[in-house]
Amino acid sequence: MDYLYGLAQTIGVHTIIGLSAYVVLQTGQVTMAQAAFYAVGAYVSAMLTTLWGLNILIAIPVAALVAMVLAGLAGFPALRFKGLMLVVATMALGEAVREFFFNFDYQIAKGDLKVGPAGAEGFRQIRYFYERGWTTAEVAAFIWMFVIGIMALLWWMDRSRIGAVLRAVGEDELAAQSVGINLTAVKVSAFAIGGAIAGVGGALYAHYTTHVEHTAFGVLMATFAIAYPILGGLSSVFGTLIAVVFIQGLLIQWLPILIGGELRNLLFGLLILLAMNLRPRGLIDPRVARTLRGLFVRSPNA
């Protein structure tokens, strides 16, 4: 049973990181920096709880805020680039942040143990949940509280005017400006919201794994972040969730047990290839999304 709860934790955190990229992708910006904000959230929150003994319910918002500010700041220079240049610029930013944590060394003595980020060694002993005796199930429930909260927020955003504005910017920047949308405000906000969400994801990740190191926040994590929403389709937050469940749950956890051996990323890569050839607009593309919406809710203006 604990195995299942562990899986629920992974799926939850990956959904959050996927959703963080979802917001930014809606404005048409392909970001490879989500892993960096994820890392910031992880390190900041873990330092707050482990080094300074803060409550996790304070540490998570603070970590999210730091990641949000950083992402907002990154959003400004990112405005100068479009498309492929942005991919490369954000990738370089992500790598720079990863390199920073690779070199980041700050420990304090706690009892007879030195704790804190230790460069390449990583940050061990993030024992917040363990010290308080939370069970795996409780931790999973805690994580899913955030997942559901974030999904509800984004679902509401999608249906509100904000969602339409984000998509308008993603589709045609000049036309968006001509109908009075402030590109700078929208793009930087999208980056900031995405950063905050990634920060929450990072914070949760750090606390359930109890040990983070820079390798977890590399290009691969950044590609995972954008892969979920793109595979799931940018028309609905549920697409991202489905993609994560499918990839993390089915492909990475269960399939290897069935067929034996470690083929995880191999299958992941193949799946992306196949999915993009068969469904270039993602699993839930605009047409499917509209049909689904039509099934459950009346159109918002009717």
Binding site: R80, F81, A89, L93, E99, L220, F268
Partner: protein, 290 residues
């Protein structure tokens, strides 16, 4: 003097980065799409040659290089088939994502082949040195430089002197008009992927050979570095990629004399300097779309 020596080394080895940068830029120039799997395919080519070298003992180094180039060329064609051929051009995210899938796929294969650690790779004249006054230059670096330059010249000759090359440039500039002139878009695109793949495979083999080691981490490292070279040089510009490759090589080796840890960080900073000061890159035009 140490710094001068390091910068010269950097420029010599930087030609391999230039080759990777040319590969990215060539595909971008023709398709207006980014092939994120390119550098990983280049290293995968080198690993293919590694497997051959381990299997048939005492394979001569030039043959190892050729195997790497050929394997990467084949991979280039496969990438074209799987990531570009059947995906509608109107969905730019789909092709980008497909190449990401390919990148992850190739990276995993490399991890399996390498057993998750760096593997020995045959070097070219590893101990030969050439002393020039106070400078002490490794002969294999000079060989790397010479082979890279020869490859570049060959590419330029191909692009500017042959029918295939002219077709490639025509497609890069006006795809619709080129088709109306009877140029097969499909075949030209495929040829571009094979050409860039061969260059990449050669670069991958030389990167392994000059260190006598083929690291399992190279696919991702080289992807990032190659993209940086491409952006600094200006998307779609071959001369830009060359200059940027040498620049990145020189900066890397230069900083290394000061601090190995700061090396990669400085390369990242270099790209930010360019993105802010000269966002179009050294030779690029700014109005690059999607």
């Amino acid at each position: 003097m140490v710094l001068v020596q390091a910068i010269i080394d950097g420029i010599l080895v930087g030609t391999t980065y230039a080759l990777i940068g040319i590969g990215f830029t060539l595909i971008f120039g023709v398709m207006h799409k980014l092939n994120l799997a390119f550098a990983a395919a280049s290293i995968a080519g080198a690993f293919a040659s590694l497997v051959a070298w381990q299997h048939f003992k005492d394979l001569p180094v030039p043959l190892v290089f050729l195997i790497s180039a050929a394997a990467a060329g084949v991979l280039g064609y496969l990438i074209y088939l799987t990531c570009f051929r059947f995906i509608p051009l109107k969905s730019p995210l789909a092709t980008l994502m497909a190449t990401v899938g390919m990148l992850i796929f190739l990276e995993e294969i490399v991890t399996h082949v390498s057993d998750g650690k760096a593997q020995n790779y045959p070097g070219m004249l590893p101990d030969a040195r050439w002393t020039l006054g106070p400078l002490d230059i490794r002969v294999d670096y000079i060989l790397v430089f010479a082979i890279s330059v020869a490859a570049m010249l060959l590419l330029l000759a191909l692009l500017y002197r042959t029918r295939l090359g002219i077709a490639t440039r025509a497609v890069a500039q006006q795809p619709v008009a080129a088709q109306l002139c009877g140029i097969s878009l499909d075949r030209t695109n495929a040829a571009t992927f094979v050409m860039s793949g061969v260059l990449g495979g050669l670069a991958g083999a030389m990167i392994g050979s000059s260190a006598e080691l083929l690291s399992n981490l190279l696919p991702l490292q080289l992807t990032v570095k190659g993209l940086i070279v491409t952006v600094i040089g200006g998307l779609g510009s071959i001369p830009g990629a060359i200059v940027a490759g040498l620049l990145v090589g020189a900066v890397e080796k230069g900083v290394e004399t000061w601090s190995v840890l700061a090396r990669d960080l400085c390369v990242m900073l270099l790209i930010f300097v360019f993105l802010v000061a000269k966002p179009a890159g050294i030779f690029g035009k700014l109005n690059v779309r999607d």
